[in-house]
Symmetry: C2
Subunit: 213 residues, 2 copies
DNA sequence: GTCTATACGGTGATAGAC
DNA sequence: GTCTATCACCGTATAGAC
């Protein structure tokens, strides 16, 4: 229970600076010099702590990728909540995560597309077990009266609706809000309830109208 | 009505090669040498046709950004279709576009986040008039019985559900399909109907249940 | 551990022959 | 228009003093 450290150790300062620069510029766009400046040290020291730019990047990326898949599975598997409550909690937590880390979605998407191979490696070592996900499909499918495939699509749609407004912020903000950043942040806040409403109303509408348009 | 040109002129070959390399690697990751190789020419010729890497990139980016906002507004404004038909057409066309240009979403998102400023410039010169969009909101809101703000959220959710499965392909494919690319392409095909169903059922469910969960 | 100085390769861009 | 050769610079990485 140490108090907040005002003075971080060098490695901590590097990691913090590297996170800022890498998440903003990406591996290709980032410069070791900029990270050094940001951390208040010089380039040589970066190589002393982390052997190469690549190694430093991977250290950051591993952490951020795990942030990207937050501890949301327990929410969906909980047996204390109805599926409506699960949806509200899930969406609320996920969007809150991105409100706190606005650059996370764009960063992860960029790097994952730059080098799709690394994903496979990081997934197996992380705590994203596909076993748990299969269980999520089964439980939710049962509760919602959907097939396993339908749950899959619903899950992707929900996640899309949470992530994309952050990953595409520069576009959406410009096209739909004329560049007004305050209005857009307001819009992002509203998403918490709106996205959950979407999913819940979809399930309601689906139960009622089966096959007639 | 000339027949398909087997032999393209040099500028055409450059643009084609530049599109491939830039969309895959981004501005920072792309190398002029690689573009030259891809086009079957040498670096000097790239600078002869386009003065700099930046200029060549912008030529590509302008085109791709306009592709990203396809001619979908007329669909939403048509007075020959019900809103259900509009939704099905919209989603179908949009996802088909990405099936034909799988790297478009990741490319645009990456570059737009790298340099959010350029967006503002390109938007005003493009044919994305916010005037038309305001009209879309109004018309759809009336047809669906939604407020202007609710239409905005619905539109973003729909677009998110179309784009994100492509922008996040490497992640989703690995986490949910164990890297099975064929299965994932099948999944992307299914999206056409699934996303439309999602929106339509949402609207149905919304009409019926107003306020009770 | 932290610094300065420097090596080394790569990359965008240009000069100039044909 | 197209090529080869080359420049000038930048960025990663290392050597070595303190």
């Amino acid at each position: 229970m140490t108090p907040q450290k005002i003075e971080k150790d060098t490695e901590g300062k590097i990691l913090e600076a590297a996170k800022r620069v890498f998440t903003l510029k990406g591996l290709d766009g980032a410069r070791m010099q900029e990270i050094a400046d940001e951390a208040g040290i010089n380039k040589a020291l970066l190589h002393y702590y982390f052997r190469s730019k690549e190694k430093l990047f991977m250290t950051i990326f591993r952490v951020e990728l795990n942030n990207f898949f937050p501890r949301l599975i327990p929410i969906l598997l909980s047996d204390e909540w109805t599926y409506v409550q699960k949806i509200r909690h899930f969406v609320d937590e996920y969007i809150e995560l991105f409100l706190k880390n606005p650059f996370l979605p764009a960063f992860v998407l960029r790097e994952v597309n730059r080098n799709p191979q690394v994903i496979a490696h990081f997934i197996v070592e992380s705590d994203i077990q596909s076993g748990k996900l299969k269980e999520v499909m089964r439980v939710l499918g049962k509760e919602m009266g959907l097939s396993s495939n339908e749950v899959l699509h619903l899950l992707i749609t929900t996640v899309s609706a949470c992530i994309f407004p952050f990953a595409g912020k520069p576009i959406i903000e410009q096209v739909l809000f004329n560049g007004n950043s305050d209005e857009y942040n307001q819009f992002l806040q509203e998403r918490k309830t709106m996205v959950a409403d979407f999913v819940i109303c979809y399930l309601k509408g689906r139960q009622i109208s089966n096959g007639n348009e």
